[in-house]
Symmetry: D2
Subunit: 163 residues, 4 copies
């Protein structure tokens, strides 16, 4: 089992720079999460984008799909901002033999209380266990691509059409 | 989707009592973990045992199997000490139509750094995604029952026979 | 012993709003810090400003000085952004019978790792122990007003003239 | 300013050993606390004892007093179990030219929520600001030696005779 993590930015990776007095997307917090979880599988981390997901556009998504299609891996966890995670998931659908799980967080991984660690745990398990396809792991649930939209008002994910 | 959590004790639930100046297994930390993870699925928590897993015996395991066999649920996450988690997993094998995931932690959930949150996230995802059967979610990996033993020397799980 | 906490904003109180995808100064984290510290003295918290300290101007400082001068308290802890903490400290100098300690943090109190808790602990002790005057508690040190400037390059406080 | 930290054990330093499934006093958590607090003063740490404070006896206290009396430092912070902290404080009283602050915690420094960080912050400030003497920094308060006893029932410190 080898999992390739692909980071694209989003709240999960938000960090804070004192000099600028603002939050910015920086180096992924993934490594710290995996170290603390004492994981014992092979993986690497590909820093692909550092964008708030509202700024990820069609060209970015096409590049991401091309990257995975040409890549020799089988298991992927993608960290992604929650706002447009479903859109990216749909673009990635249909890549044969690939199990792809997108995850993110509603509060930054650096916070004292955060959903980031739990969500990455879910994504890692789903990547290993699910049959090939594209999934979103958020809010304690694993959705198939096309079955989720962000419920901004309630600040959590909700299935729109879950079978 | 309804997940039934069953707590049996173990390091994940260890807490500290000042009066006695020693660690004891107490109320499960599960609720706090699920709250922080902002989970949005139905669940309940059944406090079944409060034992270090070295003290869980055959009678306990038989009672646990009977409880699940007679229960109307389909998805279970069991928190369990790591020392005898594989033994309990094997006793639970073969219950038709049940997806059962055991998980635990090498350091208590109350610690500042702990694998507990990640592991429960893995277990929740595996319970939803895996086909019926018995699994162990530890060390970033999801094992089928019978395929894991605790590697005490290295302080992490290791598969003995993983296909 | 009654300590009056006055919050003015700054990094220590920075929180993160998902909707805006940016950090903003919000409700003070002081209450959470004092609860966790199991403090056993009387206090109240006066929310005075919610500003990054670079935006605190002379009028704000004059209002703050007037507030404390007219107030019946003797012991004050003021949370404040680090950039202009020395300027505010100097404006507050000379109020007879008042022990005033300014503190803040280089990373937000909500972060998993932060200097905020330690710094508030220092400020609470200094307010109780020091003779009347104005002090800054940062970087593990208690400075008298006029003896500190922020060393931005090194990201910590440094005394310029400490007797 | 040079502060000499002396560790004697107690809850603040309790750690957890998986192999033994019990809490034990181990390497002090002081270093981690001071690093996170970004302290900028000179200090060293003297590991003097590793005992629950109920096990600290008169001989230990005499040795501690002798050590400090013969030592060339002026500022001391002693981490100590809370049960007999007042007894040790009294034995240390009367050492001329020494400012000695004892502190500890009701929950271990390794816990996610703990009073340890705040308390060490208080002790560091008190050591710098207070006039020579022996103090206890706990529960958000700085007491002079002889003025505190542990209120076990309420799980916090209470002054018995505070001037």
């Amino acid at each position: 089992m080898h999992i390739r993590f692909i980071t694209t930015g989003g709240t999960i990776d938000k960090i804070y720079f004192d000099a600028l007095s603002q939050f910015e997307v920086g180096e992924s917090q993934l490594q710290a999460i995996l170290d603390e979880a004492l994981v014992d599988f092979e993986y690497d981390v590909v820093p692909f984008l550092q964008k708030d997901s509202l700024e990820i556009d069609d060209a970015d998504r096409a590049r991401l799909r091309d990257f995975i299609a040409a890549d020799d891996g089988a298991y992927y966890v993608i960290t992604h901002g929650t706002d447009t995670m479903p859109e990216t998931a749909e673009v990635l659908a249909g890549l044969e033999g690939k199990t792809i799980v997108l995850t993110g967080a509603l509060s930054p991984a650096r916070f004292r209380t955060t959903d980031a660690v739990f969500n990455v745990g879910m994504a890692v398990a789903a990547a290993q266990v699910a049959k090939p396809g594209v999934y979103i792991a958020m809010s304690g649930q694993v959705f198939e691509a096309g079955a989720v939209r962000k419920n901004r008002a309630e600040n959590r994910s909700a299935a729109t059409d879950r079978n």
